[in-house]
Symmetry: C2
Subunit: 194 residues, 2 copies
Amino acid sequence: MSAVKRRPGRRPGSADTRGEILTAARRVFAEKGFDKATVRGIAREAKVDPALVHHYFDTKEGMFVAAMQLPITPQEIIPLLLEGPREEIGERLVRMILRVTASPETREPMVALIRSAMTNDQALAMFREFISNALLFQVADRFQVPHLRIEAAFAQMFGVIMGRYVIKLEPLASASHDELVELLAPTVQRYFTG
Amino acid sequence: MSAVKRRPGRRPGSADTRGEILTAARRVFAEKGFDKATVRGIAREAKVDPALVHHYFDTKEGMFVAAMQLPITPQEIIPLLLEGPREEIGERLVRMILRVTASPETREPMVALIRSAMTNDQALAMFREFISNALLFQVADRFQVPHLRIEAAFAQMFGVIMGRYVIKLEPLASASHDELVELLAPTVQRYFTG
């Protein structure tokens, strides 16, 4: 726990220790990928006790989201999707993705992760493992929908976000949330409820 | 017509002249983007007569496809989509995209163009202008479908191809064409026919 001992009197919530853990986490995720990285391995890399890592980040997913500066964790997304009738999940999911990606501060870290995944094999493996295991398969299992259908829904929304914010296709880039919900919600709904 | 004069006796079909025009085309498309590049400008860059460029490549779209080593031109795609009943366009389009992207030789140049578009602003502008003006808007106008709906269909299939061949999500990457057609054709059909 050297990082903590260095500043006696500071509580474990110190921004320094947290920052050092995140730096170590970025290094370990990049080297090992999401699946093989462990809380214990990241604690070792950061020279802190694993309990302290858990204190700051709860789960490996939470640490990945913080390390990549992503705006929202899968654990926050799933309850939001479960709230409300199942026959409106398409609309809820489309609105949530449009809302989360609307502001540059929350969008840019996601786009940066995607860009690095497109050009770097290690970043790609990390992105694939996180997307599959921490997000898509969790949603699929929670909603009892086959993985392939959830991936078709992901492909639709990934394409929309890339077309809107990276490729900047018009009129897609300027379309309102309501227009896009009207167009896309039935597609996503069909993948979830058949 | 210096490139042709250098090898007297060779007919204008010479691989050298064609190659020189393509090298010039890649340079001009990268500098000016797809919209602002002209056959005349590319001929000037290649030091050949514009008529010779037309002789080899017919249109600017054809030259772009050849320069980027893309496997299929928009002029070939549109008639294939128009063949057959309108209520089966979803299935025809999904099958065609899966077929064209199935073999590495035809897929790799497209993926290379997308990768460079993700990391280079000039390549991105070139990709966006080509996709919009030479492909999506042509299809939209031919089928009298609003541009936004065609872009939603593009987003679905772009996401599927990226998920399948670049991110390599499973089970999407191993799914059969028939499974994917069953899942995706109704989505594309709805964007075309409402």
